[in-house]
Each structure stands twice: as structure tokens, then as C-alpha cells.
């Protein structure tokens, strides 16, 4: 039995959000070094059996999540809060960021104001004042929420391109 690995698996399985090293440390009482090594093994284990679940590092956080190709199966049972239209707006912002709110409204219609409000309150985008409108970019939380490994805007765009190709 590999106790550290199982403790970490338990913690990642139970949490619906990616966890920081410090959170895993305090929940398992293990050292960062042991945790890091156990996570590598855990990831390999899930990959080796071809599980639909994967262990990923997202920015500085760790998470267990469904592989993208299986998320359709899980979606009806997952507690997702965002309306589909708001997701489209989020995708548009993520792909073209930074985007002016006024330009976005021109491209996608005035309902984007409602979407931006939803996305801001879900902490997925940040809005900086720019003259009479706002400049919109994705937040750090954006990458976590969508399970993207990096929160850099170039990486997000690259990731989105890859996802589109896979479809």
C-alpha cells in the first residue's frame, strides 16, 4: 500500500476545485517533497489504466478531473453554473484577449453585457477601465475552471486551438 499516494488521491478526489500544495500539505500532513513525488506516481497510475479521470497540474494547483474527451458524459451530473451563451462569450474573450467590452458588444450583440456580469461574478474574467469602456481579459481562475494547464493568454489560445482540432 502506498499511503501518501492514497491520502493525496482522497484529497484530490473529494475536492471540486484544484488545490494548492499548502492545502494538500495541511490535509495529509505530508511534506511538499513527498506530495510532489506521489502526485507523479498517481498521475501515471491513472494514465496507465487509461482512466477517464486524469491528475493534472493547473498553474500552481493540482486537480483530478475528467479528460476532455469524456467531459460530455459527466456534464449532466456536474454542478456547472454557467449558461451556454455566457460560455460562448467567455471563449470569445479568451481567444481574442485583451478585448474591449464595447467591441465585444459590437461583435456579439448587447447580450454580452449580461454575460460579462456573469463571468465577472464567477471570477472568470477581469475588466480594467479603458476610456469609456472596459478591457477584458481572462482571470487566473479561468484556467482552473476550464482545466487549462496555464493561465497565460498565449497558452489559452493554443489550448483552444488544440481542442478545436481534436473535435
Amino acid at each position: 500500500m502506498d499511503e501518501p499516494l492514497r491520502a493525496i488521491e482522497s484529497v484530490l478526489f473529494a475536492s471540486s476545485r484544484p488545490l494548492r500544495m499548502a492545502e494538500i500539505e495541511s490535509a495529509t500532513q505530508l511534506s511538499p517533497d513527498i506530495i510532489r513525488r506521489a502526485i507523479v506516481r498517481l498521475k501515471k497510475q491513472y494514465d496507465d489504466v487509461g482512466s477517464s479521470v486524469e491528475v493534472v497540474k493547473i498553474g500552481v494547483r493540482y486537480s483530478m478531473q475528467l479528460r476532455k474527451q469524456y467531459s460530455n458524459y459527466g456534464m449532466p451530473f456536474a454542478e456547472v453554473e454557467l449558461p451556454k451563451d455566457a460560455l460562448k462569450t467567455a471563449a470569445f474573450i479568451a481567444y481574442n484577449q485583451p478585448v474591449l467590452q464595447s467591441e465585444l458588444a459590437k461583435s456579439l450583440g448587447s447580450e454580452v453585457y449580461e454575460h460579462i456580469k456573469i463571468l465577472r461574478s464567477a471570477n472568470l474574467i477581469t475588466a480594467k477601465r479603458s476610456a469609456h469602456t472596459f478591457l477584458l481579459t481572462t482571470s487566473k481562475h479561468f484556467a482552473e475552471y476550464f482545466g487549462i494547464a496555464s493561465s497565460k493568454k498565449e497558452d489559452i489560445k493554443k489550448w483552444m486551438d488544440e481542442q478545436t482540432k481534436k473535435q
Binding site: S15, S16, M75, V80, A90, N96, V99, T133, F134, G147
Partner: protein, 300 residues
């Protein structure tokens, strides 16, 4: 508060004014503009009118928090507004209506911008015009994005497991504390409601208006006895506190109807004066009649 946010607000109001044609809305928007402009002129005097006061609070919040007038975050705005309202002496009903009004005014933009885009009209051109508005009405053929956007960019949320656990003791107790507080509030509300129902039963608006009419008639008779020219209102009182209140309210009523003028030279505790405004000959003044009778009477 930055001058650009003030400009934004003024521009926003002008924009809406330019879009409407109902006279009623025009008046409303003029009122908002007048209030917003007091910020520009730096003449910040607390308005007496409760509606104006509440409106001023809205502008205050919008300007001091740098809200985008095109995109007010209503959740945070309403929260701030309600908090501020509790600190100030603002009529709650007026404030509540105002939150709704502000909401509808500021939310109009989506439909109107859409409609405006359809019509492609040059809507207005004024000193208040600014980039964002111009942008709104820019021709459709101007490319908005240099970026190329793949057709099916699709995002879907990461799916994770969420374990569930039973409620803990502390959570139950916290919940109990909250429930107790809620029940207390509900009880207090019920009491107030009951009291209001009782006082409503006593209150008959017909009696009230009949009483007021009688009071005004009685006070008018007293005023007539005092003759022409400025009158110290003390001369009209005759009795205790209740009489003073009755007389004062009747005087306010008469002043509002334009029959008398009311003024006070030394604020706030100075003497209050009044004077009849209607032409003298309408009045049937007992003193005048008495004077006339005295004239006619043979000199002793």
C-alpha cells in the same frame, strides 16, 4: 471621483435623452441631468426633496465608485446603495422605487443600442458626445476585430468530483443561531404589521379630509379677523399645543394653495409671519366691517 467618470455619466444621460420622445421621460432625464450637473459645477447642496436626495445618492455612488454608466454592476451597486441608504435618512419607499427606476433607466441601453444599430441613424451630436457613443453607431462594415476567430471555439467546464459530507455540529448550531435571529425579525415585523392594521382601522381618510377642511375654515376665520398686512402667526394661535399644530398645518395648506404667504426672517427659531395673498375685497373682514360701521356711526 474623476472628471472622466462625470463626463461618462453626463454623456450617458444625454444619450438617453436623445433617444426618447415621450415628454414624461424627457422631464425625468432633465431632472437627472440637472442633478448630475451640480457635480460638475461643484454646487453640492443636499436636496430637500426625498426623491432628489435619493437620486443624488445614486449619482454619488456611480461617480465615486467609477461605475461604467453603460454597464452598472447592479449587484454591487444595489448593495452599496442599500448600505448608504441605511446610513442616511432617506424615505425607504422612495429609495426602493428609485433602485428600480435607476435599474430600468440604466438597463435600457441594450435594447436601445440594438434598435439604434438597426436604424443606423445619426442620433445626436452635442458637446457631450464621446468616443463610446460614436463607437456604438459606427458603420457595420468597420471590422471590430483583427483577430480571426475559429467557428467552433467551444469551452466546456472541467468536470470534477464533489464529495459530500454530513452537516457538522458547529454548522447546525450556527444555523440555529441564524434561524433564531430570523424568527425574531419575523416576529417584530408581524407586530408592526398588526399595529399598522389597527391604526389603519382608526384612520378614515374621509374623516381626515373633513377635519382638515373644518380646521382650515376655522383658521381662515381667525386670519380674517387680523386684517391686512403681515401677521405674526402667534396672533392666530389660541389654545394649547394641539391648537398650535392644527393652526400650523392649516397655514401650510393655505400657503400651498396660494392664499397666504408664510416666511421666517431669522432661522431657525425666529418669528414666523404670514400675509393674505388674495385681493383684499374678497375677504369679509369683521374688523373692516366694524371699522366701516364705526365710520357710519354718529360721532359721539
Amino acid at each position: 471621483m474623476s472628471s472622466s467618470s462625470l463626463e461618462g455619466v453626463l454623456g450617458h444621460l444625454m444619450f438617453h435623452k436623445a433617444l426618447i420622445d415621450e415628454s414624461d421621460r424627457h422631464q425625468k432625464l432633465d431632472r437627472y441631468l440637472a442633478l448630475a450637473q451640480t457635480y460638475e459645477q461643484g454646487e453640492l447642496v443636499a436636496p430637500r426633496d426625498p426623491v432628489d436626495k435619493a437620486l443624488q445618492m445614486v449619482f454619488d455612488l456611480v461617480l465615486s465608485n467609477n461605475y461604467d454608466p453603460w454597464d452598472i454592476d447592479l449587484i454591487s451597486f444595489t448593495d452599496l446603495y442599500l448600505r448608504k441608504m441605511q446610513q442616511s435618512e432617506v424615505n425607504f419607499i422612495v429609495a426602493g422605487k428609485l433602485v428600480f427606476m435607476a435599474w430600468s433607466i440604466l438597463k435600457m441601453q441594450s435594447e436601445e443600442v440594438l434598435a439604434a444599430n438597426d436604424e443606423k441613424q445619426q442620433l445626436f451630436c452635442s458637446d457631450w458626445d464621446f468616443d463610446a457613443i460614436e463607437d456604438m453607431f459606427a458603420a457595420d462594415d468597420v471590422p471590430c476585430f483583427a483577430a480571426d476567430v475559429p467557428e467552433q471555439i467551444d469551452l466546456c467546464e472541467a468536470v470534477r468530483h464533489q464529495s459530500q459530507r454530513p452537516v457538522s455540529l458547529v454548522e447546525l448550531l450556527d444555523a440555529f443561531e441564524e434561524a433564531r435571529a430570523d424568527a425574531e425579525v419575523a416576529e417584530a415585523r408581524a407586530k408592526i404589521r398588526e399595529q399598522m392594521t389597527r391604526s389603519d382601522q382608526k384612520y378614515d381618510p374621509r374623516n381626515h379630509s373633513e377635519d382638515l377642511e373644518k380646521d382650515v375654515e376655522m383658521v381662515w376665520t381667525r386670519i380674517m379677523k387680523c386684517g391686512n398686512g403681515p401677521i405674526v402667526i402667534d396672533d392666530i394661535f389660541c389654545g394649547g399645543k394641539e391648537d398650535r399644530v392644527t393652526v400650523f398645518i392649516s397655514l401650510l395648506f393655505l400657503a400651498r394653495n396660494g392664499k397666504i404667504a408664510l416666511w421666517q426672517d431669522d432661522l431657525p427659531y425666529g418669528q414666523i409671519f404670514m400675509e393674505i395673498k388674495i385681493p383684499w375685497d374678497i375677504g369679509t373682514l369683521e374688523d373692516a366691517r366694524a371699522a366701516a360701521e364705526a365710520k357710519q356711526a354718529p360721532v359721539m
